[in-house]
């Protein structure tokens, strides 16, 4: 029904477009997970897409947003549909690593640049002929894992217990944590896994506590990350708590309550934009995003996940004028030029950091893209 109406509209648009060739416009296809298990990532991303500019370098920009229901198959189908039926110039999405990984084949086959909003570095590493078309805005896990290991070493932590999701997120973090901790000479003494929907993690927590680690790292995303910490608290664990940047939204604070006070985690600077020093170049960009997002969605509603979508648009805004000099939107030449332009971006200030793309690094973030924060009095506080 909706699809047919959309098709009619598109047909009308094509006819109009053919009649008036001067009004060439840029089309951006977006497929994100606004329903399903990753809905808490996809929802703020969809809200952020609504904030994006409708005109770049004098060209009208149209965003076609589809929901993939956190489902890999649907993400791929959406990507094909956006490219084949809507003839998009670039893809944004998807919200999760598995869905984005599957979309790489489509993007590479059709030669359309794609900016993923998922975290795993496997999306852009190792760089090959396919991944050439893929960029991503969230920080690599490795950057964040190094930050945690750094902080642990400084805090005098010698032994660490790990409890993470029983999925790709937990797997990725476990591998990165093992590497980062080994580099700092910190011992990983216990590794436990749990599922997002578990109602109890007592067994895992008891096992962790038997190993008596100085600190516990919880590698989970969103509000389910609060469960192990609450259980550890209940069982009287007194060591330090570390979380990952997957928890950086207000709902985690709401669900975690008193039990997550004092937790340390790495995150993008946008989470604590107002606490950044004024000399930080990221501050004005991040503050602008927070202001606009909260004006549209209510105070306190901003989440770092939505900012990744906004960052993808900033990258496109910077790259599109360069590509426009070479070709017209809607053509394969334009898409190829857009890819080259994205790869050539340097010192682009995003809400999550400063990006310097290179042919081998399609994320481009450095140390400036992460800050350490703690939770104090139910709010995020920047650690020096």
């Amino acid at each position: 029904m909706l699809g047919r109406r959309l098709a009619t509209l598109l047909l009308a648009a094509t006819v109009l477009g053919a009649a008036v060739p001067a009004s060439a416009q840029i089309k951006i296809g977006v497929t994100i997970s606004t329903t399903g298990p990753a809905a808490s990532l996809g929802t703020p991303q969809r809200n952020s897409i609504a904030l994006l500019p409708t005109e770049i370098a004098g060209q009208k920009v149209e965003y076609i947003v589809l929901d993939d229901g956190s489902d890999t198959t649907r993400a791929v189908a959406n990507a094909r549909k956006l490219i084949d039926e809507n003839n998009v110039d670039a893809l944004i999405g998807s919200s999760t690593t598995p869905a984005s990984l599957a979309m790489i084949d489509v993007a590479a086959e059709k030669k359309v640049p794609m900016i993923s909003l998922a975290a795993s570095s496997r999306l852009i590493e190792p760089m090959d002929a396919q991944r050439k078309w893929v960029f991503k805005t969230p920080q690599n896990d490795s950057l964040m894992a190094d930050a945690i290991a750094d902080h642990m070493a400084k805090a005098g932590v010698k032994t660490v217990g790990f409890i993470g999701f029983n999925d790709a997120y937990g797997d990725g973090w476990l591998a990165e944590t093992q590497r980062a901790l080994a580099a700092k000479g910190i011992q990983l003494v216990a590794t436990e896994r749990y599922a997002r929907n578990d109602t109890s993690v007592t067994g895992q927590v008891l096992k962790l506590m038997q190993a008596r680690p100085d600190a516990v790292l919880i590698a989970a995303s969103g509000t389910p990350a609060a469960l192990p910490q609450k259980t550890l608290h209940e069982r009287g664990y007194t060591g330090k708590y570390y979380q990952t940047h997957g928890v950086a939204n207000a709902d985690f604070l709401r669900v975690g309550g008193r039990d997550v006070e004092g937790t340390v985690l790495p995150t993008g600077p946008v989470l604590v934009a107002d606490q950044l020093p004024d000399t930080n170049v990221i501050k004005p960009v991040a503050l602008e995003y927070v202001r606009r997002y909260e004006a549209a969605n209510g105070p306190g509603s901003v989440a770092t996940f939505g900012a990744h979508a906004y960052d993808a648009a900033i990258l496109l805004q910077a790259a599109i004028p360069v590509a426009l000099k070479k070709a017209k939107p809607g053509t394969p030449e334009f898409r190829s030029a857009l890819r080259d332009a994205l790869e050539g971006l340097s010192e682009t200030v995003l809400t999550h950091g400063v990006s310097n793309m290179t042919p081998t690094d399609h994320n481009g973030f450095d140390q400036r893209a992460r800050v350490m924060v703690t939770i104090k009095d139910g709010a995020w506080k920047l650690l020096p």
Partner: protein, 345 residues
């Protein structure tokens, strides 16, 4: 592993097992009376928990509007089903059931939600909001198919499950909520520290089982349900309205689901899609009980809870695998024992 840890795990298993036991009971009940394998049972748990959490925060839960919508749909469906013999008393009863009741609940919720009256009124209001959805769903989806095969009913149940899952996302949003428990008290027994909520859960389960036992053993409605379960045709011949039995079974199932949600909300964070897995574990227990035996299902549920808690200690990565694998030897054993005749109706 020492005795202390074993005790803690056992306690955890029993508490979780009690919730599974409640769900297993209601699955057995619904199946026995209506032959519907009630897959959406888990959604009622999630709805109950999320409604309860919203009321505690002083917000009007979205499920109230869902209740009104379902009520209106059930009213329409009822009128269409009865279109050939519309009589005033029957129509009035139908409208009271499907329009007046949600209206009253809506007014109560509008009045109570901002006042934060405390855990008990909130829990009761939650039951009032979520429970009637079940009989409405029965009217909408299952009553027209009452004579269909078990497989058709199962497919309808899966459809209802998927619909409720989507509606849950619309009405509650993607984020999870956690509620405050009935009791913050903690009782130390040797090495164990038992939270007050655990007593509430186990206590409610036992009380509810006793109440169900009394209901089936000593009341006319309960006996009618049992008669329908034993033989639908026979029950109709002696004047029992089987569609009414179906509705009563669904009211009980909805109520048990909502209560499980209220009980579990303080223990864990509940999402709009959390219910399915919880319901599925209740289902495993119900299957072990052969979908007919209440005591076997309840015991199996506690077993499932304990298997879950011990396997999460030893091999947390394979916990779900182990829990759901338990079903295979049971099915093998049952199919070797059964003569195979009772499956075909």
């Amino acid at each position: 592993m020492d005795a202390d840890i074993a005790l803690i795990l056992l306690q955890d298993g029993i508490v979780n097992g009690s919730i599974y036991a409640l769900l297993a009971l209601s699955l057995v009940l619904v199946f026995a009376v209506t032959r519907v394998i009630f897959i959406p049972q888990g959604e009622f748990v999630a709805y109950g928990a999320l409604t309860y959490a919203a009321l505690q925060e002083g917000r009007l839960p979205g499920s109230v509007w869902l209740l009104c919508g379902l009520g209106a749909a059930a009213a329409l469906a009822g009128l269409v089903q009865q279109r050939h013999f519309l009589r005033a008393p029957a129509v009035l009863r139908l409208l009271a059931e499907t329009l007046a009741l949600p209206g009253a609940v809506l007014l109560a919720a509008l009045w109570m939600a901002p006042r934060k009256l405390g855990v008990l009124p909130d829990a009761l209001l939650t039951l009032a909001i979520v429970t009637p959805m079940a009989p409405y769903l029965y009217r909408l989806a299952f009553q027209p198919l009452a004579e269909a095969s078990v497989l058709t009913l199962l497919i309808a149940a899966v459809g209802v499950h998927l619909a409720l899952l989507g509606l849950g996302l619309v009405f509650f949003g993607p984020e999870g909520y956690r509620a405050v428990g009935f009791s913050d008290a903690r009782v130390a027994v040797g090495p164990l520290v038992i939270p007050g909520q655990a007593f509430w859960i186990v206590g409610s389960t036992v009380a509810l089982m006793a109440a169900l036992y009394a209901f089936f053993g000593f009341t006319l409605a309960g006996k009618a349900l049992r008669a329908t379960a034993v033989n639908r045709l026979g029950a109709r011949l002696v004047g029992i309205a089987t569609s009414l039995s179906g509705r009563i079974a669904f009211v009980l199932a909805g109520g048990i689901g909502a209560l499980s949600g209220v009980l579990i909300a303080p223990l864990t964070t509940v999402y709009y899609d959390s219910g399915f897995l919880i319901g599925l574990k209740g289902f495993v227990a119900a299957i072990i009980g052969g979908l007919v035996s209440y005591p076997a299902a309840a015991l199996a549920a506690v077993l499932v809870g304990c298997v879950e808690s011990f396997s999460s200690f030893y091999v947390s990565a394979f916990k779900e695998v182990i829990v759901f694998t338990v079903i295979i030897p049971v099915l093998l054993w049952r199919s070797l024992r059964s003569t195979g005749a009772d499956e075909h109706e």
